[in-house]
């Protein structure tokens, strides 16, 4: 068992510098994530469009594609997997709907994407924040848009999510399923990329004054699931999500009335009503850390509570220190 690891606050320059930055085509490859002051913002990348031919302009191809999508939806001509993941809807509607938020509003930059394997199972473990789970949505967009293999993140959610109408159904269609060991292990053995936010409601609903302080990591169920299936654990640190809805108060009686874990008061909500639901445009960084291998252990090690606790702590410490490092490099929550 390794002793407590010392994680340097400043990762060595060469290590970070050679990592591919978010988009292969973007300027400033190998640049440190937070921009130096005065540097112009990186141009938002243009998606490679099919070459418009003389007889068929680009808009017509786009129209054709969207009509095809509508036809598939109207005739039920698509497949879903046994978890209810609807790839057609996710690629055709849900991810495009989130993309403007990802690119223009939060201007998400990803770091260390090469740590995420292009194929095979892996477990992405991230910090949870922001009152509403936009951080999980943005991680899913990041892994689809900025990863060369365009991976779909299969998120594990609390049972509350799946009890809710509309949201519960959408979460399943986007690839989510209930956070329980049978589902997690089934997904990872079938080679899927699984995302967990082990802080749960303690993390996402923490008051603004506790921002970027990791909460307790549950019971370590995610570690034992990874041990049983032998997939790597990829620590993921998300900076920026804490500032989207700064939760400065909590109306407990209202929360109890709705059966919700909390009823947030932010500077704009419920003061501005529905307008207060608009997230503040903070600048986001999502860093994927070095994978922690679990295939060196045997599946029986999943029943060793000490090993599970130690690995849980190692993942938690890695994420916490990466958060501190990213924060120390960030000048401004909104400008980056």
């Amino acid at each position: 068992m390794p002793e407590a690891r010392v994680i340097p606050l400043r990762a060595d320059e060469s290590g970070v510098g050679t990592r591919p930055c978010r988009r292969p085509g973007a300027q400033g490859q190998g640049r440190r994530p937070p921009r130096a002051a005065g540097e112009p913002p990186a141009p938002s990348p243009v998606r490679p469009e099919p070459e418009p031919t003389a007889e068929q302009p680009a808009w017509e191809a786009a129209l054709e594609e969207s009509l095809d999508f509508v036809r598939r939806r109207l005739t039920g001509d698509y497949t879903v997997d046994e978890f209810g993941f609807d790839r057609d809807l996710t690629d055709g509607l849900l991810l495009p709907a989130l993309r403007p938020l990802y690119r223009k509003w939060f201007r998400v930059e990803t770091i260390g994407m090469h740590h995420v394997p292009a194929e095979g199972g892996a477990l992405v473990v991230a910090n949870h924040s922001g009152t509403l789970p936009l951080d999980s949505m943005m991680t899913a967009v990041a892994l689809h848009d900025d990863h060369p293999a365009k991976r779909h993140l299969r998120m594990l959610g609390a049972d509350l999510v799946f009890r809710l109408p509309v949201l519960g159904a959408l979460a399943r269609k986007q690839g989510g399923t209930l956070a329980c060991n049978p589902d997690a292990e089934r997904l990872m053995t079938s080679g899927e990329l699984v995302g967990v936010w082990p802080e749960g409601f303690k993390g996402i609903g923490k008051p603004f004054r506790d921002r970027y302080k990791l909460q307790r990591f549950g019971r370590g169920g995610f570690v034992s699931a990874a041990l049983r299936t032998g997939v790597p654990i990829i620590p993921c640190s998300i900076v920026g999500a804490e500032e989207i809805y700064p939760k400065i108060g909590d109306l407990k009686p209202l929360a109890r009335l709705f059966g919700a874990p909390y009823f947030p008061i932010t500077p704009l909500f419920p003061l501005l009503g529905p307008l207060g639901m608009i997230p503040l445009p903070s600048k986001w960084y999502i860093e994927f850390g070095e994978p922690i291998r679990t295939d060196t252990y045997t599946p029986a090690d999943a029943d060793d509570p000490m090993l599970v606790f130690n690995l849980t702590d190692q993942v938690r410490e890695t994420i916490q220190h990466t958060l501190y490092r990213l924060l120390s490099q960030r000048r401004n929550a909104f400008l980056g």
Binding site: L74, E82, G84, D159, R172, T177
Partner: protein, 314 residues
Amino acid sequence: MLGVDTVPPPRDLLRRMGRAEFVRADIRNPLIAKVISGAGVDTVVHASVSANPASSGGRTAMKEMNVIGTMQLLAACQKAPSVRRVVLKSTTAVYGASSRDPALFDEAMMPKEMSSGGYAKDAAEIEGYLRGFGRRRPDVSVTVLRFSNFIGPRIDTVLTRYFALPVVPTVLGYDARVQLLHEEDALAVLERAATEELPGVFNVSADGVLLLSQAIRRAGRVPLPVPSLAVGPVSRVLRSARLVDFSPEQMRFLNFGRVVETRRLRDEFGFTPRWTTVQAFDDYVRGRALRPLLGPEQVAWLERGVLAAARTLR
């Protein structure tokens, strides 16, 4: 081969029964013991667990038929030394359906909350009695087949009537994952269980999953999302109109759906369903000649029309 039922089979079925004989008897009556011992029965296939209160004359009669009938039947089997094999047609409804369940059920899982009544509770109790029977008669091979919902061109179930409605009511904001089994596969499984010794509990279902909304669209029907509060009145209207009779547990099924793991069926039972869920459903739609309100042809025609209009605009 003996067929036992409370009502005689229709004439066309009698003609196709071949060498099988029919005995009109009620399994709630101890007379069934005489039938079994008199004929020297070696294999008992109990396939009469009823899911539908309306067809079996109300919930009380249904429960009596299901539970008391099974108790009588098993009591008769226990006394009959000739019985070597008992096969029970059970249901995946024993797993329940809730938001707190894992995505797939395997045979070892139990429901999060026991169903308070109805078909699922009957099936769970019947399985319990059968386990007790298995302990008392360890020489008898006991097979429990947990079937998912049947579909096909000939079978008549709550689900086949539901999808035949022109406007299909669904629960607003929920989209269940539905796993089906083609009627021919179901019969093949029952046949295999009756002729070979394969003790154990097996989930029986086709591969693949359909979403409820997807199934409705594939059938060319129009979904009508009903808010959860209005679900009760709507299902009462459907029941009184004798269209579809939904029990509360079937409503929960329409909310969350249910998918089971069928690895044991393939590996240990040695059966691979011929039809996937989607194929079975399409066969049902074709076989019933459901006339779609909005079929693929119309949609394709619309698509071409819009594209042609866009080209002329250019």
